[in-house]
Amino acid sequence: MVRFLGLRLARALLTLVLVVTFAFIVLRLSGDPALLIMSADAPPEAIAAFRQAWGLDDPVWQQYLRYFTAIFRGDLGQSMRDGRPAIELVAERVPATLALTLPALAMKIGLGIPAGIYAALHRNSFADRAVMLLAVAGFTVPSFVLGLLLVLVFAVQLGWLPSGGQDSWRHAILPVLTLGIGGAAVLARFTRSAMLEVLGQPYMRTALAKGVPWHVAVRRHALPNAAIPTVTIVGFMVGSLLAGAVVVESVFSWPGVGRLLVVAVANRDLAVVQCILLLVATTMVSANLIVDLLYGALDPRLRAQAKGANG
C-alpha cells in the first residue's frame, strides 16, 4: 500500500512539474510581458527598467530555474501588474468561485446520479427518454449558450433574476444553474450507461435467482458496481471545482478565479497565470488521487493489486 501511494504521489508531482513548465513555455513564447503591461508607447528606459526589475533580460533557462526554485520555496511571485503577491490575488478570488462551483457540484450529483439511475431502471420508458433527451441537450449545448439563454429568459424577459454581478445570493442562481445543468446531464448519461451495463451482468441474475427482491438487488448488488465507473466522472468534476467556471464567470461577470485567469492571460501577467494553473493542477491531481484510493475501497480486485504491489 505504501509503495502504491508513493507511486501515485510521485506521478502527481510529475504532473504538477509538467504543468508549470508548460505554462512557462507557452506564456514566454506568446509575447513580451513588458510591452503588454507598460503599453507600447512607454519610454524605452521605463521598459528596460521593468525588464531588469523582473529579470526578463536573463537567458530563458535562468528565468525558468529561478522561477522553479521560487515555487519550491513556496514563493509564487508577484503580479507584474500591481506588484501584490500572486497567491494573495488568487486566494481572494477562490471563495467567489467556490460559491458557484460547490452548489453546482451538489446539483450535478444530486440531480445527475438519481436521474441516471432512474432512467436505467426504467429503460425505454417515457421517463427514460425524457431524461435522456434533456441530458443530450444539456450535454451538447455549450455553457455560454446555455448561460445566455438563461439570462435572456430569467433576467431579460421575466426580470426575476439579475443577469450579472455578485451582490447577493440571487446573483449566483443563474451561473450555478448554468454550471449544474450541463454537469448533471453528463453525469446522468454516464450513470445510466454504467447502471445498464451492471444490470445486464450475470451476477444480477444470480441475486434474483436466490430470491433477493428487485429493489434490494439494485441497492446491494447493482449500485456498488455501477459506482466504480461513476466515481471517475465525479472525481473529474471535483477536480475542476476551481477551473470549471471560466466561461460562466465571464458570461455572468462573476469575479472569481476564472475571470482573474482570463484577465491575467490577456495581460501576460505570468506569475498570476502560473499561480492559477498550479492551483488548478493541484486540485485536479488531488482529486485524481482520491479517486484512485476510492477505487481501491470500492473494487476489491484493484485492492488486491495494490496489496500485491506492496508484497
Binding site: Q201, P202, Y203, R205, T206, A207, L208, A209, K210, G211, V212, P213, W214, R220, H221, P224, N225, I228, L298, D299, P300, R301, A304
Partner: protein, 328 residues
C-alpha cells in the same frame, strides 16, 4: 413419485420472434432430469421464464405450476420466496455469476437470511458448513475471499453452496460445468449427484453434452429449436433413441472404441428462429423426411411406456447405434 413442477404450453418470444414454441415438462420431486439440445434451442430460456428471470421484453405465456400452484407471472413477493427457497438455479459461468465486490461469505449469508432467517454468527457458521459441504478447502477463511481470488471450479462450488442455502426442493443447473476443465467438471458433477443422494433434492441439469447427462440423470428431454422432441429414460435414449435428431446426435459422437471411420454427421444446421419451417423443424436435416413431415409440426406422442417422441416416423430399436453403450 409426485410431480413437483409442471410446465404446460410454455411459450416465449423476444420482440415477436418466438424462442419457445410450447414446452410441456414435468419434474418429479427428487428426480434428476436432463435437458439437452444445441445452442439456442431454448434450454436456458425455459427455466429463466419459469422463474420469471427473463427481461421484460420477453413475452411469456403458458403455465408453470409448483405443487399445483401457478407461479408464472406470480406477484414479486411470492416469486422471491420461491427463487432460492424452493427452486434454486446456478449458471454456466461461475466467475461472472458472483458479485465481484462482495465477499463470498456475504453472498451466501444473504440467501440464508432470506430463506432461513439466519443472521450474524449463526449465518456465518451455516455458510461455513455449506462451503465445507461442497468440498471447499479451508472453508472458514474462504468466507472472507472475493470471487476473483478463487478458481473457476471453486467459484462454481460457491454457487452450489449458495443454491443449497435455501434448502431448495429443486436445483436447476444451467450448464454448470461447461466453463470448467474436464477434471474439474467431473468433480462438480460428482458433487451434484452426492448432494442429491443426501438431500433428496430434485435436479434439472441443462447441458449440450450427452455424456454428462447420461451419467448424472435418470430422465432426459431432448430439445430442438424451441420444442421438446424426445423424452425418455436416460438408458433408453442411449440404447434406442426414437427421434432422428437424438439418434443423429448419438451417431455423431466419436466412439471411444472400435475402428475409426467417418462420423455420421447430421447435415446442415439449425433453422433460424425467424424462418422456421412450417412442419417439423428437423425435417430439412432429417434422413427419414416424408411429405407429411412438412405439413404440420408433429406432436409429442408416446412410442413406448415412458418414452415420447415428436416424430411421425420414430426410429426403430434396430436402427439405433448400439455401439455407444459399450464402455471403453
Amino acid at each position: 413419485m409426485n410431480t413437483l413442477v409442471t410446465i404446460r404450453d410454455l411459450r416465449v418470444a423476444f420482440d415477436g420472434v418466438p424462442a419457445l414454441h410450447g414446452i410441456d415438462l414435468d419434474v418429479g420431486s427428487g428426480e434428476a432430469l436432463a435437458l439437452v439440445g444445441e445452442s439456442g434451442c431454448g434450454k436456458s430460456v425455459t427455466w429463466l421464464a419459469a422463474l420469471g428471470l427473463l427481461p421484460s421484453k420477453a413475452q411469456v405465456t403458458g403455465s408453470v405450476r409448483l405443487d399445483g400452484q401457478e407461479i408464472l407471472h406470480a406477484p414479486p413477493a411470492r416469486l422471491d420466496a420461491i427463487r432460492g427457497g424452493r427452486i434454486a438455479m446456478i449458471f454456466q459461468d461461475p466467475a461472472s455469476s458472483l458479485n465481484p465486490v462482495h465477499r463470498i461469505g456475504r453472498q451466501i449469508t444473504e440467501a440464508l437470511r432470506l430463506h432461513r432467517g439466519l443472521t450474524g454468527e449463526a449465518a456465518r457458521e451455516e455458510a461455513r458448513r455449506l462451503l465445507d459441504r461442497v468440498g471447499m478447502p479451508d472453508a472458514r477463511r474462504r468466507l472472507q475471499a472475493y470471487p476473483h481470488e478463487l478458481s473457476g471450479g471453486q467459484n462454481q462450488r460457491v454457487m452450489i453452496a449458495m443454491a443449497l442455502a435455501g434448502e431448495p426442493e429443486l436445483l436447476v443447473a444451467d450448464e454448470p460445468t461447461t466453463a470448467l476443465d474436464v477434471t474439474i467438471q467431473a468433480q462438480i458433477l460428482d458433487l451434484l449427484s452426492e448432494i442429491r443422494r443426501d438431500t433428496g433434492m430434485a435436479l434439472v441439469l441443462i447441458s449440450h453434452d450427452l455424456g454428462v447427462v447420461a451419467e448424472t440423470c435418470e430422465r432426459v428431454c431432448v430439445m430442438y429449436a424451441g420444442r421438446i422432441v424426445e423424452e425418455t429414460a436416460a438408458q433408453t435414449l442411449f440404447a434406442a433413441p426414437a427421434h432422428p435428431y437424438a439418434a443423429g446426435l448419438m451417431a455423431a459422437l466419436p466412439p471411444m472404441t472400435g475402428v475409426r471411420r467417418r462420423l455420421a454427421a447430421i447435415p446442415g444446421g439449425v433453422p433460424e428462429p425467424w424462418s422456421m419451417p412450417r412442419g417439423c423443424a428437423f425435417a430439412p436435416r432429417c434422413p427419414l423426411r416424408g411429405v407429411a413431415c412438412d405439413a404440420a409440426v408433429p406432436p409429442l406422442a408416446t412410442v413406448a411406456p415412458g418414452h415420447r417422441a415428436a416424430c411421425l416416423r420414430p426410429q426403430s430399436q434396430v436402427a439405433a447405434t448400439g455401439r455407444l453403450l459399450v464402455p471403453a
